[in-house]
């Protein structure tokens, strides 16, 4: 088991170096950072001095390794705007995004799997069909529209839930959490639903089709023939086999939830890294952008690693083939 983890870890590190290369190249080649930093009034001597200070005259590979070395130490340079260290900026925004992403992923996973199983077992039933047709809305409406509609209904008309921000947050070390206050939890509801609805329908449809497929398998018929109850057949035999592919997709979706958070955060003025990124784009704040890119890359790789390990935990066949070095 340890060997597999180490092997996967090695692959992950390679991928991260590539991601770092891309975000480095963006930093280096999208516009001239010296122009961005000094403006038009600077003299040539000042420019040359800054170029030297930023290491822009070094060989490209040296600059790249400098970049990686500093990134490993969480040094992404200073934001062009406000001159704050990028790492600090992101660290202060990250809890908001992660809490939002986690809540909506949990929401999507739990309700997606439950409705998926239900619609598969009660195939053709009235409620199952109702859920299925309603889910089309989730797939076809764009995220921002769902957000705006939810705001209109629950914040403007009914006045039940806040329409923007995180509410009150509690500070725990460098982490700020909205989970511990009523207003924080209330503020989470609408953005989480907005962000998770698409994933929910996706997971539901996937679970349903996988479950229907599994229910046709011989081992399910055999389990039935052995007199096991429907409950045992559905939950002990069909469900685990259904979840293998669902977990992969759901895991990968967690990454895109973080990525999609940009839109939701804009709609709800959620103070997360997505909003930070949007603002950075407006002002061509390249250090922030490249750090964000790196962060999303790390997140994706990390989640993938986790999904792979979960896979191994669930499926004994994979475990053995990996140990025998076939994987």
């Amino acid at each position: 088991m340890l060997i597999i983890i180490l092997r996967r870890l090695g692959q992950s590190i390679l991928v991260l170096f590539l991601v770092a290369l891309i975000s480095f190249l963006i930093f280096r080649f999208v516009g001239n950072p010296v122009d961005n930093l000094m403006g038009q009034e600077a003299t040539l001597a000042q420019r040359a001095a800054l170029e030297e200070a930023l290491g822009l005259n070094d060989a490209l590979y040296k600059q790249y390794f400098d970049f990686v070395w500093r990134a490993i130490h969480f040094d992404f340079g200073n934001s062009y705007r406000g001159a704050l260290p990028v790492a600090e900026l992101i660290a202060s925004r990250l809890p908001a995004t992660l809490e939002l992403a986690l809540t909506s992923a949990l929401f999507a996973m739990v309700f997606g799997v439950i409705t998926g199983i239900y619609t598969a077992i009660k195939r053709g039933g009235f409620i199952a069909n109702l859920i299925l047709s309603t889910s089309l809305i989730g797939v076809s409406l764009p995220t921002f529209l769902i957000g705006v509609l939810l705001i209109w209904l629950f914040a403007v008309e009914l006045r039940w839930l806040p329409s923007f921000g995180r509410g009150e947050v509690v500070t725990l070390g460098w982490w700020t959490t909205g989970f511990l206050t009523v207003s924080g939890l209330k503020s989470l509801i609408l953005p989480s639903i907005t962000l998770g609805l698409y994933q929910l329908t996706l997971i539901m449809r996937l679970t349903r089709s996988e479950m229907l497929e599994v229910l046709r398998q011989d081992y399910v018929r055999f389990a039935k023939a052995l007199g096991l109850s429907n409950r045992q057949v559905h939950f002990n035999h069909a469900l685990p086999n259904t979840l293998v592919p669902v977990i992969t997709i759901a895991g990968l979706q967690l990454g895109s939830i973080v990525a999609f958070a940009i839109i939701t955060e804009s709609v709800f003025q959620w103070p997360g890294v997505g909003l930070l990124f949007i603002n950075a784009v407006y002002f061509v704040d390249i250090p922030v952008m490249s750090a964000y890119l790196l962060l999303v890359g790390v997140l994706f790789v990390f989640i993938n690693l986790l999904v792979d390990l979960l896979y191994l935990a669930i499926d004994p066949r994979l475990r053995d083939s990996q140990l025998n070095g076939e994987g």
Partner: protein, 319 residues
């Protein structure tokens, strides 16, 4: 007969399709006696497996048991087949590679099945599971192994252990050896036969292999296009088949003896009709060498407790 364990009375299994209603099983009646091995033989699509599925109520929609009755130990079971699954009648499927849940240890699957049917503790269930594995020739130490670590033949042994675990009075074995190597087939059949004889368990053995029928069964039913063509003691059927289709089947089975060594194997010309293009009268008449006028218009029922063929009717009236 009082010995009847299972009695199938005039069942139809129909499928609703876009082209209308198709009959996969048409007016089938047969019975299984206590402790006997009944073979069901026929070509693919003749309704052998469907009969097994019908008994346990495992027909997948859109198919359904649309008429007839199934009686087991004097009780009608076709309306609530789930009540007899496992502890009264259980089933073995064709392909052992896909009969076991790949994500669960074989011991878990055995213990789950045992605990579902017996009021015993988990510890006792594990003991039973180990004993069950030993009986089918699998090292009980492998109780915690996953199905993929076993070969096909060994998996079918595990499947047999599972099917026998709830101590059923009847096992429906649906081509239990078709997916296995020839060398393993005989072992598995012997094992199944021996374990069932020891327990007095009846078997319905579904197969298309006349050799398997000859070696294993006490009685045999021949199915053709969803209808019972002939039924009787295995020895009678093999030595003196009455229905022209059975005659064809027996004649087309290869034998290894000197007299038949350089003869070409007999072949029944034509093929079984599709369900949506069933001929009028006897389903076999377009392929039959002895066809009578009556065969083209009227469906024969089982005559003289033996075969559904108008030829027998003629014989009887001549007597």
């Amino acid at each position: 007969m009082s010995e009847n364990l299972l009695e199938i009375k005039n069942i139809d299994v129909t499928f609703k399709t876009r082209h209308g209603i198709l009959k996969a099983i048409d007016n089938l009646s047969l019975s299984v006696n206590k402790g006997e091995i009944l073979g069901l033989v026929g070509e693919s699509g003749a309704g052998k497996s469907m009969t097994g599925a019908a008994i346990l109520g495992l027909i997948d929609p859109p198919g359904r048991l649309s008429s007839g009755q199934i009686w087991y130990k004097g009780q009608r079971i076709d309306q609530a087949p789930e009540t007899i699954r496992g502890h009264e009648i259980s089933m073995i499927f064709q392909d052992p590679l896909v009969s076991l849940n790949p994500l669960r240890r074989i011991g878990d699957q055995l213990v789950e099945t045992i605990l579902t049917h017996m009021p015993i503790t988990k510890y006792e269930a594990i003991e039973r599971a180990r004993k069950g594995l030993e009986e089918v020739g699998i090292d009980p130490e492998r109780i915690n192994a996953y199905p993929h670590t076993f070969s096909g033949g060994m998996r079918q042994r595990v499947v047999i252990a599972l099917a026998l675990a709830p101590e059923p009075a009847l096992i429906i074995a649906d081509e239990p050896t078709t997916a296995l190597d020839v060398s393993v087939q005989a072992q598995i059949l012997d094992l199944l036969k021996r374990l069932c004889r020891e327990r007095g368990t009846s078997i319905i053995l579904v197969t298309h292999d006349m050799g398997v029928i000859a070696e294993t069964t006490d009685r045999v039913g021949v199915l053709y296009a969803g209808r019972l063509a002939e039924i009787g003691d295995t020895r009678d059927i093999l030595t003196n088949p009455k229905h022209p289709y059975t005659k064809g089947l027996v004649a087309s089975t290869p034998r290894i003896d000197a007299s038949s060594f350089d003869k070409t194997l007999y072949q029944i010309s034509g093929s079984m009709p599709k369900l949506d293009a069933m001929p009028c009268g006897c389903a076999f008449h377009p392929r039959c060498e002895f066809v009578l006028d009556k065969c083209r218009s009227d469906i024969p029922s089982i005559i003289a407790n033996r075969a559904a063929c108008w030829l027998l009717d003629k014989e009887e009236s001549l007597l």
